[in-house]
Amino acid sequence: GDKVKQSPSALSLQEGTNSALRCNFSIAATTVQWFLQNPRGSLINLFYLVPGTKENGRLKSTFNSKESYSTLHIRDAQLEDSGTYFCAAGDYGGSGNKLIFGTGTLLSVKP
């Protein structure tokens, strides 16, 4: 459903540019995880967030639980950043310990 809305659904970036992906939640998310799914199907764990901000190399993510959104910033995009990015909300009150996923942002980085 629309409990976790991701935007944009698709994005094309020139190598070396910056961009931001966003998730809006209509549930009371207590944690957020961001994943990158590669063409083989593997989900690579990028960030696990309680409310706040984390940074790892060229990636930075923020989770604002009061305003019910999370963002993933990509700086200096590289070809290997291409893939589908998913955010997933942990709602331990309502849905127990399951993750509720967005439907992804397909990112294509071009040379």
Partner: protein, 113 residues
């Protein structure tokens, strides 16, 4: 390479056949989850375990699937009688505790023809 090992990578079954897939969770992770990802990128939670015990499962899993996580053996998820709508990527994930981050495997891609 993922620390959660899923086999097989690909599985092709006829309708009505059993389809079984396995998952070895990351070492030290007693909590295991199974999700189904369809071609529209929709994820459906199927079942989760803590050690050998089922924590939660959905109706479909209870009725049509058989899952277990025995001690000292891989976890498994088996569809008793495959349907075309079961064609999907089945992802296994594990975590150190219930409310911590997940590590996913590479998935088993099931095609039911």
């Amino acid at each position: 390479n993922s620390k959660v090992i899923q086999t097989p990578r690909y599985l092709v079954k006829g309708q009505g056949q059993k389809a079984k897939m396995r998952c070895i969770p990351e070492k030290g992770h007693p909590v295991v989850f199974w999700y189904q990802q369809n071609k529209n990128n929709e994820f459906k939670f199927l079942i989760n375990f803590q050690n050998q015990e089922v924590l939660q499962q959905i109706d479909m899993t209870e009725k049509r699937f058989s899952a277990e996580c025995p001690s000292n053996s891989p976890c498994s998820l088996e569809i008793q009688s495959s349907e075309a709508g079961d064609s999907a990527l089945y992802l296994c994930a594990s975590s150190r505790q219930i409310n911590s981050d997940y590590t996913f495997g590479s998935g088993t891609r099931l095609l039911v023809i």
